[in-house]
Symmetry: C2
Subunit: 325 residues, 2 copies
Amino acid sequence: MKIALLGLGQVGRSVLKILAENRTYYEQRFHRKVEIVVAADFHHMLHSEEGIDPQRLLYYKEKGDIWGTGYTEIDRETLFEREFDVLVDLMPATSDGLRARDLYLGSFSQSRDVVTACKSGLANFWPEIMKSAVSSGRQIRYEATVAGGVPFFSFIQQCLRSSIVTRILGQVNSAANFVLLNIANGETFDHAIEEAGKLGILEANYHFDTLGNDSAWKTVITANSVFGSKLKVNDIIFEGVEGLSPEVADLKYTRLLADTEIQDGKLVASSTLRKLEPSDPLASLKGTGLGFTVYMKGRAPLTVLEFSDGPTETATAVINDLLLL
Amino acid sequence: MKIALLGLGQVGRSVLKILAENRTYYEQRFHRKVEIVVAADFHHMLHSEEGIDPQRLLYYKEKGDIWGTGYTEIDRETLFEREFDVLVDLMPATSDGLRARDLYLGSFSQSRDVVTACKSGLANFWPEIMKSAVSSGRQIRYEATVAGGVPFFSFIQQCLRSSIVTRILGQVNSAANFVLLNIANGETFDHAIEEAGKLGILEANYHFDTLGNDSAWKTVITANSVFGSKLKVNDIIFEGVEGLSPEVADLKYTRLLADTEIQDGKLVASSTLRKLEPSDPLASLKGTGLGFTVYMKGRAPLTVLEFSDGPTETATAVINDLLLL
């Protein structure tokens, strides 16, 4: 499997690190050879028919300039002239999602599958992107867009086929909830942002996290993927975590939660601040923890928890998508 | 997909109920028509080329005799002369596992796949059964053998491909832990068994649960499936929950746990009574709850919890296997 890896931020670099470590394991266990033939950051797009060594690329990226790797620099316009199977989009979100939409439609029309960790394209243009994938006979996988490294879509798609999902309640954005917990503990907003930045869990523009856009995107993608809706961000109620203080609200069990539910045959979706019961398993998540509870018709709900999440975990979601293609 | 459903105990009847309710949904969503063409309990084996109606079969089973359905009774010896794709084994365990082994090898040699909820065959003859499946080009799926309705093997196989699993710690048998919690609360062993029976979570011979065999089987299947070992039950240390009293031990956080772990490159597996930290997410499981934590190389662990489990949940695991084939 030849991939074009676009975006070498925190998640992109973690993908390189994991591929460097686990490539042989994937080959032995799943008979899948994941080979990077195109890699790009903001400054350069590099190409090698023989494959780009992830370790080497990572070394130069961390030193400051991937051009030093010696791989051939190519014009971004010529991307689809290169031979590869899957486009991997790990670039920063833009609020309108146009960049991502155009890239995915372009990929499908050029017979490439897509794996993405980027939310805004899917959250703004879900019907158009899915229709294009189907009509081109291509696949798009997006595990990393919701709940970081917690298996979410693969869990629902592969593990819960026999059950009819009626509701998903999730703590799916670590940055916003990390800030919330810090404020609950008496820290300032600015301090929390600084700490979140160090952990690599912030969007390039952190207001996407703290104003609630990121969680709203995730809610919309969840609703559309699981319940077959065609929602856009402006169709749902969402809020963020800016301007809160522990004096004005009891924040200890308050979380920014994505909630999508079928009520009387109608889908209700929101991404808002909610107070959990202390006994709710989601309330046990601290720091950068993520998790969700799935409710299903006629059977007990299931909860999946990850007690800390970061770029490494999100990168495992990206690679799992590649191995499921 | 045509199936032969063998065993109409608690789990078998739940499979019938779910198929009656969800068959149309499966057809619409996954384009899979699950059709029962052979069904058997201890007394009769019935056959219908046009398909056995699960609702009708359930009605007569609960009334007492499936012969009343009017479907053709056939000789068990002629099972493989019937046209079907998957043999579904929901029959009671035998401690030696011979019955199950012979049935699966027979299925593979007759070009049928197998879905099973029965542990003892796999726990006693794993290498032989897997070798036979591979050499016949058939599949065997066994989601329901471990942790009831909690997605376990599908979770590891589909959602965690990109990570290298190093340890799985699980509360995977609801009956034993239900008895344990009841004793911790001051109930008698006999009372706990009676209650567990009402919930439908006991093996036909309940000593398989309370002496620890069932959990040991699950531990062995986990080890062999996830870590590629060839263990048998007698290769691991296991214990049960008989003869305990709250006076002799602090049982509040004690659980019967299946633990399989790679330590210094070597697999260590056990199914023993262990005291959990009160903050361990598995300690939050009460009653018939089940769950497990997966530890992986270089990334945060994941925990999956189900706060109550019973035949319905186990039946969803059986049907999920059918939909994954």
